[in-house]
């Protein structure tokens, strides 16, 4: 099954090669990545960590990137409302759209360059983002092989506290016209601080394929709050890879909200490379109808006294499936590791499915690792309590669903973004208004 797929990828690559910009990824590098893909093949549902994502849909997709539009037909008004204080950079089908962007002031200490890799930055990335050992970079390789553009962000030392930016990836293409490869390389220098919103939306309900790749390096004592929102159209196939390397004393906090797409898969791989490094991975997803939301989140503790906190809250209704596989590996010598996982799924439909799986691999003594995982229906006692106070059954159930998501949603510290997310969550749960706004 994969053999013909990689053969087709290679074919589409040849045909598209002349329009893949060398300034984004050098041709030689692209060729190497293609060779890797051809050798390894794309994952299939038989692969250990790929049981849930709907990979068969790939067979219907084109891999060559959508041809960039000469005349951008989008207006700023078509896009989600901007978040005050966050400079916006918009990419349409993976290509930077300056007309729809509103860049940062140059004094902010953050530079964003589109497709001009500074040599120094690329070396730092190469050195620091060495993937965790059992890494899965196949879709990231696909992304890099085909990328038309890349957002390269470099947050400099002494950046004002904190610099804030939003990357908006808009997909307008359909499956016939080609794929989108949103690409972000983030280099946060020592001590720098950054607030980053990353959103993926599609305009139009056509089926489409995007394979975003995000590569992040946090220097010593740097801190990043990264909010990722996936709100693709109902027929989209979205397969995403995020890789991060966290140096000594640095803190990376990732908040992921997954709402859209027919099938969405995130492969998150974080490596704590320095002592006292910290990562927080907090994810919510609400899947309905036939949607599949699947996340694989791997954190590797490669240095002592580093800390991980993983929270997942997923609701599956209709015939949807929500899966979260959270894996923590504690390497030899990573003593004093502190890792906590709390993974919970809520079944909101008789034919829905939840799969939450915490996994721990520990190769050292002296660690504190805890994990809890639950999957179940709404609690009958809680529901009865609310009904006994006169609440409509529907209201009571909604209230309990909100409460379930609250552990993660409450952590979103950008009020405007949180409100937008709450509204989207409400929409996804078939509510006209966010219940919380009513109350």
């Amino acid at each position: 099954m994969t053999a013909p797929l990689t053969a087709r990828i290679a074919e589409e690559f040849r045909a598209a090669a002349s329009r893949l910009p060398a300034g984004v990824v050098p041709p030689q590098r692209r060729e190497e990545l293609l060779a890797v893909l051809t050798r390894e093949g794309l994952p299939t549902s038989r692969d250990e960590n790929w049981k849930y994502a709907n990979l068969r849909a790939l067979e219907r997709m084109r891999f060559a990137p959508v041809a960039p539009r000469t005349e951008p037909s989008l207006l700023a008004a078509d896009l989600p409302a901007p978040i005050q204080g966050y400079a916006r950079y918009t990419f349409v089908d993976g290509v930077f759209a300056p007309a729809l962007s509103c860049p940062l002031e140059s004094s902010s200490g953050v530079t964003l360059s589109v497709a001009s890799r500074s040599r120094e930055a690329s070396e730092r990335l190469a050195a620091a983002s060495a993937l965790p050992a059992p890494a899965d970079a196949r879709f990231a390789a696909l992304n890099e092989a085909f990328a038309l553009d890349v957002a390269r962000i470099r947050a400099r030392t002494g950046a004002q506290c904190p610099a804030c930016m939003e990357l908006l990836f808009v997909s307008t293409g359909d499956a016939e016209s080609g794929a989108a490869y949103p690409r972000l390389e983030l280099d946060v220098e020592p001590d720098a601080r950054l607030g980053l919103i990353e959103r993926h939306v599609s305009l139009g309900a056509e089926s489409s394929f995007s394979a975003p790749a995000v590569d992040i390096v946090l220097g010593r004592n740097a801190a990043v709050d990264h909010y990722r929102v996936q709100e693709m159209g109902p027929k989209a196939l979205w397969i995403d890879t995020l890789t991060a390397g966290i140096a000594h004393g640095a803190a990376y906090r990732l908040y992921m909200v997954s709402l859209g797409a027919a099938s969405a898969r995130s492969t998150i791989q974080v490596r704590l490379t320095g002592e006292l490094a910290e990562v927080g991975l907090h994810a919510v997803c609400v899947a309905d109808r036939h949607q599949v939301h699947d996340t694989f989140a791997l954190v590797e503790h490669a240095a002592p006294r580093a800390k991980t906190e993983q929270t997942f809250r997923g609701i599956a209704g209709g015939r949807a499936r929500a899966a979260f596989n959270g894996k923590v590996i504690v390497r030899e010598g990573a003593h004093g590791t502190d890792s906590r996982q709390s993974l919970r799924g809520l079944l909101a439909g008789p034919e829905a499915e939840i799969d939450v799986r915490p996994q721990l691999e520990i190769y050292t003594d002296d660690v504190r690792c805890s994990h809890g995982a639950t999957a179940g229906k709404l609690d009958d006692d809680m529901l009865f309590y609310l009904l006994s106070r006169g609440l409509e059954r529907d209201t009571a159930q909604r209230l309990l669903k909100w409460a379930f998501l609250e552990d993660v949603v409450a952590k979103i510290a950008v009020p405007e973004l949180r409100r937008q997310i709450e509204r989207s969550l409400a929409g996804q749960m078939n509510e006209t208004t966010a219940l919380k706004e009513l109350l």
């Binding site: 009865f384 009904l387 006994s388 106070r389 609250e406």
Partner: protein, 249 residues
Amino acid sequence: MLIIEDLHVTVGGKKILNGLTLEVRAGEVHAIMGPNGSGKSTLVHVLAGRPGYEVTRGRVTFDGRDLLALAPEERAREGVFLGFQYPVEIPGVNNVYLLKAAVNAARKHRGLPEVDAFEFLDLVRSKMKLMQMDESFLSRGVNEGFSGGEKKRNEILQMLVLEPRLALLDETDSGLDIDALKIVANGVNSLRSPERAFVLVTHYQRLLDYVVPDRVHVLVRGRIARSGDRTLALELEKRGYEWVAGEAA
């Protein structure tokens, strides 16, 4: 107001209530006592509409209407309130949200517009004062991390805000210190009126010193083994349930 006739209830195939008959009239306070496991909580749960109970015989009317035919939320809106023996914690659902949603549900039922936000807060604050509860409880999750006594006070707070016509209080006095017991009793007494009735499930005579009942019933093995006035509670305190149970058998 409430008429229970020959009520038989099984739970998980086990017979718990066994031909229970009881009438509570508007304005009355009834105390229900009885040994552990005799079916007191089962009775109030069945009245409030908790799922999982099978009524195999008998009927219950509330103001002439078939109570058992109503969904739990409808019973609440008709004015039935259950103060739980073990109030559940609901993290993430704000205490004040719940109160407001409950008040608005009742108002909607009566064809009234939603409560004004400021008036509502004033009302809640005044009731909290009566219950000697700190306002910080408002923004916490429902019963989340509350101590046993705080949970019970929170039940009474909800009762005061909702002003039910029939309050079923299941061991609201258990786990309360002496001061809290008086506070809870004050709360109950502040609602007593000719239109309202109370059913107090309790193990202790003490509560009945503060909330003086019109009738006291002893529940043994799923039926009322003896009824009397308040002196029955005193006698039970002295002689224990063996006395009633023996007589009933």
